[in-house]
């Protein structure tokens, strides 16, 4: 076992060890803590880059540990894993920077950053999981490590949100557990990608297979906030902004979506799932969630709530893409995983900036912020445009592939879903942009701080700008070899190859 | 004829048992219980178990009875409600009745099955008796074949005494020795002490070949200690923590020491050296006798120091 094959473990460990060290640091050691945190994030990005290079060379580094008879924890870096891991590692750095700024002078930072790192470690585990068992373990760990973040403020409201969050995710976890346990009990100990054996099992016992699929997807759907399991997401908005960003863009929701991708592609195999007719109901639910989420977003007056419902809708794009058989739809789904992460994190950063700098929480208070905070507003605008799907921001690429994928799969009605949702997106984002740029300021800002800065403090601003830039770059340079799109292509090639 | 005696004994036994549980007065209940112990001693004789009869009379009836009576005297101060026959209507009664009847039924069913033990352990006992160092099979079992049980059992005794110490209040005054200033008692006991010790040691010595042994001897010794205490002799020893606890653990320590020595020679735990088993058994029994006597005595003593007479409380 050489150093390189241990890389997946080290990727996990960078944030895990960081979490432990941070927990043990006294509360007052802010500077040291920030240094460790940022250092770990940078090291992780370096490791991920190494790993991506390996994976691009057709290698799949793998670490495994037998924890139960015939059952192993497997960390394996395949192409799909690297897509999610890459996103997480970049956004971890950005979110950490942002959180350091956001929580300056706040209490409980040791606890916060500890769980934050733990949360990222679980996300890494989810992305690198080489079988369903490993996936399950990190999936539950994610639930556990996000709970303290959701209730971080300790107010009755946030405690209530925490309860809701747990009620949803733990129940989902139980459903997933049953699904995974059934899978192991009957289909056997199959690693991701052993779809041929799964096909064999499905042909011998189709009902069991269908139940397993239902349970697995049902369990993941809670975190992915598919309708009707989306209730926790808007409630969890009481958490601090970096947590919301993390929840929506990287960790929880994405973990659910990523899990669904894994189940469809690597547990069952898309061909099998398609043949068995599992995918159509899923795509119907996803489509409904897209429209429903957008519709609800339209009704919200709170910025973060609106963004939350927007997430409900956007994540379902990913799932919709997964259900479209054929390379194009798959590319659309996969690439949206990344694009949506970048864009949504930008939006949350900006919402946080508005709240922190000017005390703005409601949409109608946004009038004229473009003048007071031009750079934040610019980033917000880019994110919003991306969400609507306007080129050249990344969101367009995803929608384009989804649309063409739907046509290729012969599901023309999906086009109408996409159009309808884009219209709704526009309907709830464009008025906001209009208020920001074109309406004059109405009276005093609710609660202004950082008056010495033109926009807001750099630690809050820079992450937002970086992610905004990244989401534009992902769209502009979609053709280059380094873009998410080409990586998604790589995955698809490998998926459809055999 | 014999069966008739046995049946009568059983009937008396059951009658006394019922009386000791359901008589109104607690004092009488305890009395009946002690009586039951004595009858049990007879029963053990009928069961060809003189060792148990001795133990039952000395330990079961004697010491348990004394402790119960002693406790009763202290409980007088409490709101001591006798059992009410009103309980007959409560579900508790029915639960008790059903459980009791169920136990009897099940056990009777189980017993009524003909027995054909697959293993003849008693034969093994008699075969190995010559190597055990003693000639009385029960002593051989208790201190050689199954000496490990006995070791743990002594630990149980020490533990019980320990609880008594634990619950002694730290703010309590040490015992004021309320001996009986009766001159006749003094005179007689001085005469008797050597004899009681002699009896105790005889029981110990006899244990090697016939009924008797450390526990019976210990019980007698405890009686001697109690008498010592009653005439006000030398009981300040028991006030000293070191002597108190040292006395408890003496036998156990000796036992552990002798038992672990063979480990150094590559023998299993509690193995006696060949041909010297008898001496070692006697040594251990001596230690146990002293400790058991001391433990039983200190139970009595510790119970004296609880300030329980709070008659003025409501």
């Amino acid at each position: 076992m050489n150093i390189m094959s241990l890389l997946p473990l080290w990727v996990l460990m960078t944030s895990f060890l960081a979490a432990i060290v941070i927990f043990l640091l006294p509360e007052e050691r802010h500077r040291l803590r920030s240094t460790i945190n940022i250092g770990a994030a940078i090291i992780k990005i370096g490791l991920i880059i190494l790993l991506i290079r390996l994976v691009a060379q057709q290698e799949t580094p793998e670490v495994s540990l037998e924890v139960l008879p015939g059952l192993s924890l497997v960390l394996r870096a395949d192409a799909l894993a690297m897509l999610f891991a890459g996103l997480s590692s970049i956004l971890w750095l950005c979110t950490t920077l942002y959180a350091i700024g956001y929580l300056e002078n706040a209490p409980n930072r040791s606890r916060f950053f500890g769980y934050f790192s733990l949360c990222v470690a679980s996300t890494m585990g989810i992305s690198l999981a080489g079988n369903l068992f490993t996936f399950l373990i990190f999936y539950e760990l994610l639930t556990l490590s996000t709970y303290p973040l959701v209730v971080h403020r300790g107010t009755p409201q946030s405690l209530k949100a925490g309860r809701t969050y747990l009620a949803y995710t733990l129940s989902g976890g139980v459903v997933l557990l049953v699904g995974v346990a059934l899978f192991y009990a009957f289909a056997g100990d199959l690693a991701f990608g052993q779809t041929a054996q799964m096909a064999e099992f499905t042909h011998t016992s189709p009902i069991a297979s269908a139940i397993i699929f239902l349970l697995l997807i049902g369990g993941m759907a809670v975190k992915a906030a598919l309708f009707p399991f989306h209730g926790w997401l808007p409630t969890a908005m009481v958490a601090p902004a970096p947590v919301s960003a993390l929840l929506h863009a990287v960790a929880v929701v994405k973990a659910g979506a990523f899990g669904i991708i894994r189940v469809v592609y690597d547990v069952f195999g898309i061909e099998l799932a398609w043949q068995q007719g599992y995918l159509l109901p899923l795509s119907l639910i996803a489509s409904f969630t897209i429209l429903y989420g957008s519709w609800r977003a339209l009704q919200q007056t709170d910025i973060k709530k609106r963004l939350a419902f927007s997430t409900v809708s956007q994540v379902s794009y990913i799932i919709l893409g997964v259900t479209l058989i054929g390379p194009l739809g798959t590319i659309g789904g996969l690439v949206h995983l990344l694009h949506q992460g970048l864009m949504k994190v930008t939006l949350f950063f900006c919402a946080g900036n508005y709240a922190e700098t000017l005390g703005i929480h409601k949409i109608h208070e946004l009038n004229g912020t473009g003048k007071r905070m031009p750079m934040t507003s610019a980033a917000f605008t880019l994110g919003a445009l991306g969400m609507i799907g306007i080129p050249p921001v990344a969101g367009f690429i995803s929608k384009w592939y989804l649309g063409t994928g739907a046509l290729a799969a012969g599901m023309d009605w999906v086009i109408w879903v996409l159009i309808g949702s884009s219209l709704l997106n526009a309907a709830y984002f464009l008025p906001v942009l209009y208020r920001i740029w074109f309406l004059p300021q109405q009276g005093q800002w609710p609660h202004e701080s950082f008056t010495q800065w033109r926009d807001t403090i750099p630690l809050l601003l820079i992450p937002a700008l970086i992610t905004a830039a990244l989401s534009v770059a992902a769209g502009l340079f979609a053709g280059s070899d380094l873009s998410p799109l080409s990586w998604a292509r790589l995955i698809v090639i490998r998926e459809y190859q055999p | 004829m014999n069966e008739l005696i046995d049946l009568t004994l059983v009937c008396i036994l059951l009658g006394l048992a019922s009386l000791s549980l359901f008589t109104q007065s607690l004092f009488r209940a305890v009395m009946f219980f002690i009586l039951l112990g004595l009858i049990l001693a007879l029963v053990w004789i009928r069961l060809d178990a003189p060792d148990i009869a001795l133990a039952e009379a000395a330990i079961g009836a004697g010491i348990t009875g004394i402790l119960l009576l002693d406790a009763l005297a202290h409980l007088r101060a409490t709101s001591n409600t006798p059992p009410q026959l009103r309980q007959l209507k409560q579900p508790r009664f029915w639960l008790a009745l059903i459980s009791g009847a169920g136990v009897i039924l099940l056990l009777a069913l189980a017993i009524s099955e003909p027995l054909a033990p697959a293993v003849a352990l008693d034969l093994q006992v008699s075969e190995n008796l010559t190597n055990s160092g003693v000639t009385h099979p029960i002593t051989a079992i208790l201190l050689n074949f199954r000496s490990y049980d006995t070791l743990l059992e002594v630990a149980v005794l020490v533990l019980a005494a320990l609880v008594a110490v634990t619950l002694r209040q730290s703010d309590e005054h040490p015992v004021v020795n309320e001996y009986l200033p009766n001159p006749l008692l003094h005179a007689c006991l001085k005469l008797f002490f050597p004899m009681i010790f002699l009896v105790s040691m005889y029981l110990l010595w006899a244990g090697a070949a016939q009924p008797g042994g450390a526990f019976q001897a210990g019980a007698v010794l405890a009686a001697a200690f109690v008498l010592f205490y009653l005439v006000g002799l030398k009981t300040q020893l028991a006030q000293n923590d070191i002597y108190l606890k040292g006395g408890w653990i003496f036998g156990l320590a000796l036992f552990v020491l002798v038992g672990s020595m063979p480990l150094l020679y590559g023998q299993p735990f509690l193995t006696y050296p060949d041909s010297q088993a008898g001496i070692f058994i006697l040594l251990i029994e001596l230690g146990l006798t002293l400790s058991i006597g001391w433990i039983l005595f200190s139970m009595f003593l510790l119970s004296q120091s609880s300030p329980l007479q709070k008659k003025d409380s409501p």
């Binding site: - | 549980l21 069961l47 330990i59 348990t64 508790r92 009745l97 533990l159 019980a160």
Partner: protein, 102 residues
């Protein structure tokens, strides 16, 4: 019926009475007496039954009963210490849940 077996049945009776009393009574001292009856019954069954299977004295169960008696006495003594302490502290000889609403 051998006299061994008669006493084994006597032990069964003692056990039954013991269980009945143990559950029925709330007074701790009476419970303790019931426990001791139960113990004596068990010892009788142990010796009586195994000897009736062989038809002669069996020393193994006798030795076990000797051990058992000592253990039972130790337990009784411990229980008495606890009961007395409890009574001294609370002026009750029953457990709180059995004291009724008074």
């Amino acid at each position: 019926m051998s006299s061994y077996l008669i006493f084994a049945y006597g032990g069964v009776g003692l056990c039954g009475i013991g269980v009945f009393g143990f559950i029925l009574h709330t007074h701790l001292l009476r419970r303790l007496i019931a426990f001791n009856l139960l113990g004596s019954g068990t010892f009788l069954i142990l010796v009586g039954l195994s000897q009736s299977g062989r038809g002669e004295a069996d020393y193994i169960p006798q030795a076990l009963v000797l051990t058992g008696i000592v253990v039972a006495v130790a337990a009784t003594a411990l229980a008495l210490v606890l009961i007395r302490r409890w009574a001294a502290l609370t002026q009750h000889a029953t457990l709180p849940e059995d004291q009724g609403p008074s």
